[in-house]
């Protein structure tokens, strides 16, 4: 863990250097340098930037939870139950490649110009990603595990709790990690589309006001949001998958 912190700091330093270099190359008006953006960032956090960040994070977490709640049981069912797989998997393969963001207008018709519409579009994207990952990992379970638990006399429900669940859990976390990046990207778009809260709104609003320093402050908060989600998922995985410490450390 200590090593990770050092690595993250190293990466941050490198990024700041690159940023500073670009700022010198393209001019300070177009790309404000770090030493101008950070004081502005602190000032804005005291006003409403924190609120925008929290609402973006909140929406992302809501979308992650909703999609996980729906995709996890369905993914397990598709991976284990043949007739359900035959029924739903072709459907999910057809629906998966559709850019869900294109459905945002429809979702706005259903849910109105609300937070729910934004969360729904993100959840829709994540749902299919998680579904396909869970189904795949359920299918990849070594036969020996199943034989072993069956020979101990476990009921189907016990098999799910003692074997299937723990087996797929690390892969679920991987899916969530990949999903959290996608979620922020989709949400950014949805937030620029309507509403007056969230980093997507803040960044585009600053851009239109030609306030590039503020825009960069927004972008930094976006990056930090992604980092927070990543670290949160790391923490949860350590908590829920203690046996993985063997792999981690």
């Amino acid at each position: 863990m200590k090593k990770r912190v050092v690595l993250i700091l190293q990466g941050t330093l490198l990024l700041l250097l690159l940023w500073w270099g670009f700022s010198l190359a393209f001019g300070q008006r177009l790309i404000p340098p770090p030493q101008r953006v950070f004081p502005e960032l602190v000032r804005l956090l005291g006003k409403d930037l924190l609120l925008h960040t929290l609402s973006t994070l909140g929406r992302t977490l809501a979308a992650l939870s909703v999609s996980l709640f729906l995709a996890l049981p369905l993914g397990i069912a598709l991976g284990r139950i043949r007739w359900m797989d035959n029924l739903f998997s072709p459907l999910s393969y057809l629906l998966y490649p559709i850019p869900k963001i294109a459905l945002l207008p429809i979702l706005m018709l259903i849910f109105g110009i609300t937070d729910t519409a934004k969360i729904a579009v993100v959840a829709l994207v994540l749902f299919f990603q998680i579904l396909i990952e869970v189904r795949g990992s359920v299918r990849s379970i070594p036969r020996e595990y199943i034989i072993s638990i069956t020979s101990l006399g476990a009921s189907p429900l016990q098999r799910v709790f003692y074997v299937l669940g723990p087996y797929i859990l690390p892969q679920v976390f991987t899916a969530l990690r990949i999903g959290s990046g996608t979620a922020l990207a989709v949400l950014f778009f949805a937030e620029t589309f309507f509403g007056s809260r969230g980093l997507g709104f803040f960044i585009m609003d600053s851009w239109m006001r030609i306030s590039y320093t503020q825009m960069f402050a927004g972008i930094i908060m976006m990056a930090l949001s992604g980092l927070v989600l990543f670290l949160l998922l790391d923490l949860l995985e350590r908590l829920f998958c203690p046996w993985r410490k063997v792999v981690f450390d």
Binding site: P142, E144, Y145, I147, S148, I149, T150, S151, L152, G153, A154, Q158, Y162, V163, P166, Y167, L169, C241, P242, W243, V246, V247
Partner: protein, 245 residues
């Protein structure tokens, strides 16, 4: 008593073995060796109730063998332990599934862990153990269930020679003290001779045949391996194996 009467099994059109019959009294260990693909594992699946025979019957203490039989324990070469449970949880899992209350099952699990010489490692995960230690855990889990029938599919094949021999000795000691019917499937003639009261060789499939040999009497300890009779039985069986495979 384990009774197998004129049993056959197949995969589609592939007939695994000729009808065979077998009786094993309580406390006896039988071992089975044969070339790859001879049907050893199929035989084990039948006894574990994981596969149904085409014809014939398999009975354990006058009860037909079925899936999820609570009197049977199974040890596999790999993946038998669950990496997400600690040693203690792995050993206690079978008892948990059987609804044994927490205090009782943990007490029993600790007892079995001690028996296989792993005291102090209760809180480790399988990923933190060596291959030999893992199979000791698998053994402890099986023993905690007081099985009437213990099935083992190449349990020590992935281990180095020294570890394998010490586990064979441990197993020999534990089994000689109990009343468990044990069937161990292996590709190693030495292992089959070391552990088996009776030894079966299986010929190459399809329609494999079983050949029965009398094993040796006596304690399964280090001295056993130095017995000239052990060597001669091993080389006799090796010759027979080459003929039938």
């Amino acid at each position: 008593m384990l009774k197998i009467l004129r049993c056959t099994a197949s995969y589609g059109n592939y007939k695994v073995f000729r009808p065979f019959s077998l009786e094993v009294p309580p406390g006896e260990t039988i071992t089975m060796a044969g070339p790859s693909g001879c049907g050893k594992s199929t035989f084990l699946s039948l006894l574990a109730g994981l596969k149904q025979p085409d014809s014939g019957t398999l009975e354990l203490n006058n009860q037909r063998i079925a899936t999820g039989n609570l009197h049977t324990a199974l040890i596999l070469q790999d993946y038998g332990l669950f990496p997400w449970f600690t040693v203690l949880e792995n050993v206690a899992l079978g008892l948990k599934i059987r609804g044994v209350e927490k205090e009782k099952r943990l007490f029993r699990a600790r007892l079995e862990i001690e028996k296989v010489g792993l005291s102090g490692l209760e809180r480790r995960y399988p990923g933190e153990l060596s291959g030999g230690q893992r199979q000791r855990v698998a053994l402890a889990r099986s023993l905690s269930l007081d099985p009437e029938l213990l099935l083992m599919d190449e349990p020590f094949s992935a281990l180095d020679a020294v570890t394998r021999e010490s586990l064979q000795e441990l197993l020999g000691q534990i089994l000689s003290a109990g009343n468990i019917i044990t069937l161990l499937v292996t590709h190693s003639i030495e292992e089959a001779v070391f552990l088996g009261k009776r030894i079966f060789l299986m010929s190459r499939g399809p329609e494999s045949r079983l050949y029965e040999y009398q094993g040796m009497a006596g304690e399964r300890d280090k001295g056993f391996r130095k017995d000239p009779a052990y060597f001669s039985l091993c080389s006799l069986l090796r010759e027979r194996m080459e003929e039938i495979s």
